[in-house]
Amino acid sequence: MKNLTPLTADIITNNLVPQRFGKRGMIWTGVLVAFCVVGAYAYFLQLKNGLGVTAMRDYVSWGIYISNFVFFVAISLVGSLITAVFRLANVKWSTPLTRIAEIIAVSAIVFASLIIVVDMGRPERLFNLFIYGRLQSPIMWDVIVITTYLFISLLLLFFPLLPDLKILIKRKELSVKSLGKFYSFLGSFWKGTRLQEKLNKRAVNILCVTIIPVAFCIHTVTSWLFATTYRPGWDSTNFGAYFISGAFLVGAGAVVVAMYIFRKAYTLERYITELHFDKMGRIVVLLALLYLYFNVNEYLIPAFKMKNSEEAHLTDLFAGTFAPLFWFAIFTGMLVPIFILLFKRGRRPLPAFIAGILVVVGAWFKRYLIVTPTLLHPFLPMTDVPENFKHYFPTWQEWAIALGSLAGALLIITFFARIFPIIPIQETINEQHETVAK
């Protein structure tokens, strides 16, 4: 056991203020920017030549763009879990994870909104949604709830940041000078008076209460985009709960991955400890079991009945062309992470990180499996259509745009961590004082 010096306010501040990118940081950012540039070029081609450059046709009109959208919406729910649920439940150990969770939520929801516009083909027609939109349409509900969630997430990111901005303005020598003005613009008014703190605390509490139902709404409404459509695989009353449980799982998995990367990149071992991995590992197991339970409900019962209309879709998933991907998603996204994280050794940082990656990768493919196979199995048989209407495999433009959007979301998180403390400084100092006082 290493004999560590006690954490004072100065040490905490020095450890947690944003740091310049090192060599690895520059390479990481460069790779992400390269993905974004290729994605932007592919989008330019799509705008120029139309949606014909994608593999989407009359039947599969929702391809990996919508899979990506559902994935982003799902992952964004983590903000409400880690920040709101844990804060309201007075879970103290989650403090170093709150900002990580919130920035994941904000970046994911920003790209969820963008990827929908990409899927439209004619983005200028987005305006028509506001002119001719019908409140009866679940798509309209989704637009409203995504916008609302984005604003609430931004506020939930901003309010707890105010005390840290004061520290950043005060300790200019620790950060880049050019950022000073930006910090002052955002929070020079924060003096840390009792009244300000009271108002801030109240605002955060109100946000925590508000964000939970909105988070449930955002993913429930996303599930209704599917469930309100009468199609094999989507015609389910289980969909809302099924989507939300999956969203919490992928969000928690993403937080574990981010925890490990930030811990390594910024040497935060004293703040993001093995305890955090142990606790988050337990939560991931719980959420994976919950999601597995909903999966059993979602697939086993229709498979037991095997209605004619659903048979082709289900057999294609279980033993047909989609079977390798389906079982990969089930094993990678749920069973293997449960197996790893059930054991104490598996909840140490590296195994937990691997389990987190498996959860996220499995979750992405799971969303693809929710969207595409159903569209390839319409109730009325496909007749007199060109051969390429009957299959779907994304073109390089679709892959480039989808990967570009994922890279874009990671880039937001990367730049945020460069500009703002990824672990709340003031809250950590306060908690340290409370611990010492006890």
Binding site: R134, T193, L207
Partner: protein, 300 residues
């Protein structure tokens, strides 16, 4: 010893049985079935005549389509000048060749034709050939209304030199065109022309919904007639029940209504949630300004 002999017999019998079954199954090997090439001729009063070539093979007592066979179709002889077109059969084993406009004079000058189809060997499929001889004919459809009874009269005419002559013993079906198929005009499935080349069928579908004006499309056709192929004639008549344009469902407040016909309960719920949540957001933004104001004011 006897038991051993019995066991030996069982083994030998089993081997013979297995080999026998295998031999039978090999005899029915689908790969051994030849590919057949058929031709069908279609003409209607509203379309340019065309020929459909069909490639198929027999497997387990069923005909299955063979796709990807390139077929050349000729008129009368297999010369380049008589080539009507080339086609590759699709997943249904079919390919369509429309008679080109360049053949109009040849087409108009004769009253009988032979279509010839040939294909080169492709993979395991040997070279194929098929032939279809047809006589030029057409159907004429008109209507009768005697004592309030609506009937349809169809005349089959065959081209004989420059004359169109009525022909007897031609089987004709008289139908009404519907969305997913054709409906016979009465219980009679088909009619055969008499010595005047005519058939008369009573129209018994009085209450059949038509379009918004009550129009129905009546048609008469021959199906794979040995001499004349597939003849078709269509006529639009105002014999149906006009379709009622039911806009009530769209004019009332409903989930499928237009933008301004949203159900009140949905408007109530949606706006309550939107106003409630955005009220909180506006309140919180106001809190930021309040905190800002407190920070700017000198601390007393």
């Amino acid at each position: 010893m006897k038991q051993l002999q019995n066991k030996l017999r069982i083994v030998i019998l089993s081997v013979i049985l297995i080999l026998g079954i295998k031999a039978i199954s090999f005899a029915q090997d689908p790969t051994a079935s030849p590919v057949l090439l058929d031709l069908k001729y279609y003409v209607s009063d509203q379309q340019v005549p065309y020929v459909i070539v069909k490639t198929k093979t027999k497997k387990e007592r069923k005909f299955l389509p063979v796709k990807g066979i390139p077929v050349s179709v000729f008129l009368n002889d297999e010369s380049n000048a008589s080539l009507l077109g080339k086609v590759v059969t699709n997943e249904k084993g079919e390919g369509k060749v429309v008679i080109p406009a360049s053949f109009k004079s040849t087409w108009d000058s004769s009253s009988a034709f032979t279509f010839k189809a040939t294909s080169e060997p492709v993979g395991k499929t040997a070279a194929l050939s098929g032939e279809l001889t047809i006589k030029k004919a057409r159907l004429v459809l008109d209507t009768l209304n005697e004592d309030g009874v609506r009937s349809i009269r169809v005349t089959a005419l065959e081209k004989n030199g420059s004359e169109w002559m009525p022909v007897k013993d031609v089987e004709v079906k008289i139908m009404v065109k519907r969305l997913l198929g054709d409906l016979p005009i009465s219980e009679t499935e088909s009619y055969t022309t008499d010595s005047t080349g005519q058939v008369v069928g009573e129209f018994k579908r009085d209450s059949l919904p038509g379009d918004i004006k009550g129009n129905l499309i009546l048609l008469a056709r021959t199906e794979d007639n040995d001499l004349y192929g597939n003849l078709l004639v269509e006529k639009t008549l105002n014999w149906g029940k006009p379709l009622q344009d039911n806009n009530d469902a769209y004019n009332s407040r409903s989930l499928w209504g237009t933008r301004y016909k949203t159900p009140l309960w949905l408007l109530g719920i949606a706006y309550s949630i939107i106003i409630g949540v955005w009220g909180v957001i506006i309140f919180l933004v106001a809190q930021i300004f309040k905190i800002k104001k407190l920070g700017i004011e000198p601390i007393s």
